[in-house]
Symmetry: C2
Subunit: 266 residues, 2 copies
Amino acid sequence: MTESGQAIGIFDSGVGGLTVAAAISALLPNEDIIYLGDTARLPYGSKSKETIIRYAEHAASFLLKKQIKALVIACNTATAAALDFLREMALVPVIGVIEPGALAAAATGKKVIGVIGTNATIKSRAYETAIRRLVPDAQIISAACPLLVPLAEENFAAHPATRLILETYLAPFISAKVETLVLGCTHYPLLRTAVQEVVGQNVILVDSAATAASYLHDILQEKELLSAKESAGKLTFFATDTNERFSQIAKNFFGEHFTSLTQVDL
Amino acid sequence: MTESGQAIGIFDSGVGGLTVAAAISALLPNEDIIYLGDTARLPYGSKSKETIIRYAEHAASFLLKKQIKALVIACNTATAAALDFLREMALVPVIGVIEPGALAAAATGKKVIGVIGTNATIKSRAYETAIRRLVPDAQIISAACPLLVPLAEENFAAHPATRLILETYLAPFISAKVETLVLGCTHYPLLRTAVQEVVGQNVILVDSAATAASYLHDILQEKELLSAKESAGKLTFFATDTNERFSQIAKNFFGEHFTSLTQVDL
């Protein structure tokens, strides 16, 4: 039986999901969190739906064996491809990041909404479906931005080339006068400043992190699975490949709560 | 027993190795070639040596089961990490691309030699060792350029951002007044024009493709394994993930000789 003292499991292809893990840890500081980054096979976003489902299944199986009480897919690509599959497979609540991202977009009250994401996420049209359900008269435009994950992973957020690449990717959104832009990939908040500069200060940028955390809170509360602990939760990190940059970014997000990264083979 | 009628096996993480396969096909047009791109797990260059060896072992096993007469590692990262391992594992000749790249650099007769490659290739210092053996008094400088593979895979060769990123990566080579620059990744020839513009027309750019092909020719000749066929060789392509761009680039290189791409699971 699932117990409130069990950990929350979170996975992503790499460091992007740390933006979601940080929001969850901030909102639910007493929860134990087990994070898995599938760094040996990243990126997911350029790969086929079948391959992404297979990778997501491996990642989820690893976390489910650790007796988690809820599973968070902290990756838009994996959510778009594998959310239904993982909900059938898991006996615990499974939370993706696309529904929370769509909720955050709807909450801005704007009607002209842009979505950027990986090839796989955009091709799935999962955001369009989710936003249309909440804002039936929305005008939605979307585009894949495949170079943004490598730029974020390589720490090129402040490099002038990133701005040029964003100008290419975001030109159709500027022409369409988008009012709200969804950062539909958990890596993109790492490039938020550059994106805001290119689209202009009037465009509202939304991402899934904070909304996913409050979505998770509500589900755990409803199922009486919120931790009763009074001490700080324990954070445990796994990755499928050793990666110094992963540790660096995790340290930026979690400070002293990030103690070590363990390599695992799925 | 190995026979001259058997195919040559070639693998890379993705499309980069097609530059080597094209050179081999041009020099040895009567040879059958089986090409494998491990697109489900690319890129290799940002991953650890242990992970790269494991992936290279899977790729080599797949090709060796097809009764190839020689194995070409058409990837600098996999050559740097796994050449020794694969030579012990395989009963057929195994050719990497680093020794041919070093031979091409030495053949320019220059003493100030630069090397660019992936994180894993540069960290291995495999090019420095190979060049130093051929040109003991060479002054060698090297740097990792991790964004060049994604830029090549995404067809951003002619985008102004690629030039800006190259200016950042190549500044130390320009300061050091390199005379020869080794494109130490089989993807980089796809960005050759931009690299040449940034370093200037006086710098000689070398890559492994043509030298690897003539290296392979010499080994097959020595072992009496050159095909005796008079008709054109058959080209067969496999990838671990479906990928439209792979087919596009393969068509550019091989025209009508590229007929189909088959997806396989390693």
